[in-house]
Symmetry: C2
Subunit: 272 residues, 2 copies
C-alpha cells in the first residue's frame, strides 16, 4: 500500500485508528472456545464489526507464537481474511524483528510476501544492514522502534548520545538509510511532549502511537504536537477495544469503543 | 539447563562449539528436496553427525518463519528431536525478540515452555521490562545482544553514552536486572580486541560469539581475551559447517568441519 492511499483512507473514514489484535484465549468470550479456531473466530468478529471505523489492524506476533503452529495458522487466516475482504486496510505485523543482512531479508519476505502484510515493526539496535533489507520492498513499510511507551525506554532510548537522546539518533541516522521513505516510527504516546522535537527531525513520517486511551485527553495532545500535513499518525488501541466485553455481543461492544475514538479523531482532523 | 551442567559438557567434550542451524532450502543437498520435510531431514542428519563435537545448536528463527507453517513445524520437530535424543545439548532459539511486559512473557513461554529451548536471544533496545520477563524462568538463559558482528553495529552500539559505548551500557545496566544470573551476551568475534574491556564488566557471564572461522586465527584471540574461569564461551559456526558439502555425504563433511573446530577448541582449553 502506498502512503498516499493510506492518507486517502484516513481522510475518507475520518479516522487514523489502528486496532491491535493482541488476541489472548484467556480473555476472549468463553463461548468462542468451542470454535475450531477461536483466535481467528474472535479476530474475524472484531474485524467485521470495526473495519469501517479504523484504517489499520496490528496483530502482535507474540500472541500468535505463544500458541505454536495453531497460532501461526490463526495469524495466516487473519491476514488472508483482511487482504481478501478489506484490502483497503493497512496491516502491521507487530513483530519487532531485527537481524543481519540476508537473515533480515528472510523475515521481510515472510511478513511482506508470504503473509502479505503492508508493514512490520523492527528494532533498530543492529543498525543499517538490519533495517535496509526491509526497506528494499516497494510499497511496504518498516516501522522502526524509536521511543517506546514502557518504563524500560529510559534504560537506553533516552540516554544522551553525542549530545542527543538515543531515540533521536535513531531518527536522524535512519533518515540516511537507503529507501528511507519507506520508514515509519513507533513513538510512545505517554511522551507526547517529546513530539515537537520528534517532528523537528522527521516532519512528514508516519508515527505509530501506542497507549492512547479512549478518554481523548492524550489523543488531543498527540494530535496537537504530532500531526503532520498528511496526518502522519496511526494511533493504536488494543485491549481497550477488543476486550470491551466478554459477552455474546463483544464485537458490538468493541465497535462502540472504536466509534468513540473514531469520533474524537474526526474532531481532531477537522480542527486542522 | 544449569550453567554448571553446560560447563561440565564443555569440559567432557572438550568443545564449546555451537552449530547454527540456519537451514536454507536453496543450499541443502538437492536429493533432500524429495523428503516430506527436507528442513528437518537436513537438520536431523547434521545433528546425528555432529552432536558429539558440539555443546549447542542454534536455529535462527528467520530461516523457519520464511517457510510459514511448514517452517514452524520443522523447527518444532528439530527442537523435539534434540530434547529427546540429545538432552545434554544446550539449545538456543536465535529469535532476537523484544517486547513489553506481558508480551515478552508470551514469547518466553513460547520458546522456553512450549518449544523447550534452553535459551533465546533478545534485543536490549526496550530495556528492563522487556528483558526481565525472560529472566524469570529458572534454568533458562536470556542471551542479550550486546555487540553484534555486522557493520550496522557501528550505527548505535559503539556510540558513546555517558562516556561509555552503548554496548557497554547494555552490559552494565543489564547486570542490575532481576535474575541477571540468567543472562548471557552476544559478542561479535570480529571485535575480539574489545573482549578485554567486556570481561572487565562481566567477568563470568557466558558469551555467544558468532563469526569465528575454521582457520583458528580469530578463535585463539577470542579464547585469549574472552575465556573466563568457567570457560564462558560458546563459539558459533553456521554455514562453514552445515554447508560443507552439497553431496550425498554432506553430513559427514559437516562433521569433519566441526571436528576441526572442536580440536582447535580442545587445544585452547588445555592451554588454560
Amino acid at each position: 500500500m502506498t502512503t498516499d492511499f493510506l492518507v486517502g483512507q484516513i481522510r475518507k473514514k475520518e479516522s487514523f485508528l489502528c486496532i491491535g489484535l493482541d488476541t489472548d484465549l484467556d480473555k476472549v468470550p468463553k463461548h468462542l472456545l468451542q470454535e475450531e479456531d477461536p483466535i481467528f473466530a474472535f479476530n474475524k468478529a472484531i474485524i467485521d464489526a470495526t473495519h469501517h471505523l479504523c484504517v489499520a489492524y496490528k496483530p502482535n506476533t507474540a500472541f500468535y507464537e505463544a500458541y505454536g503452529i495453531k497460532g501461526w495458522q490463526a495469524l495466516e487466516k487473519t491476514i488472508n481474511y483482511l487482504n481478501i475482504n478489506y484490502p483497503e486496510i493497512f496491516t502491521i505485523a507487530d513483530a519487532k524483528r531485527g537481524d543481519i543482512g540476508n537473515t533480515s531479508t528472510r523475515y521481510a519476505k515472510a511478513f511482506f510476501e508470504d503473509l502479505g502484510f503492508d508493514s512490520v515493526t523492527i528494532a533498530p539496535y543492529m543498525g543499517r544492514d538490519s533495517v535496509e533489507p526491509f526497506l528494499a520492498f516497494k510499497d511496504k513499510h518498516t516501522i522502526l522502534l524509536a521511543l517506546t511507551s514502557n518504563m524500560g525506554a529510559f534504560d537506553f532510548q533516552t540516554k544522551m548520545v553525542d549530545g542527543k537522546e538515543l531515540y533521536k539518533q535513531v531518527l536522524e541516522i535512519s533518515k540516511t538509510y537507503e529507501n528511507s521513505e519507506n520508514l515509519m516510527y513507533v513513538v510512545g504516546a505517554t511522551k507526547a511532549t517529546f513530539l515537537t522535537e520528534i517532528r523537528n527531525i522527521i516532519p512528514d513520517s508516519f508515527l505509530l502511537v501506542p497507549g492512547v486511551g479512549a478518554q481523548g485527553g492524550s489523543l488531543s495532545e498527540v494530535c496537537k504536537y504530532g500531526m503532520s500535513n498528511n496526518v502522519g499518525l496511526l494511533v493504536n488501541s488494543s485491549r481497550g477495544i477488543i476486550y470491551a466485553s466478554d459477552k455474546e455481543n463483544f464485537a458490538q461492544a468493541s465497535a462502540e469503543k472504536a466509534k468513540e475514538l473514531q469520533q474524537a479523531m474526526s474532531l481532531e482532523l477537522k480542527k486542522r
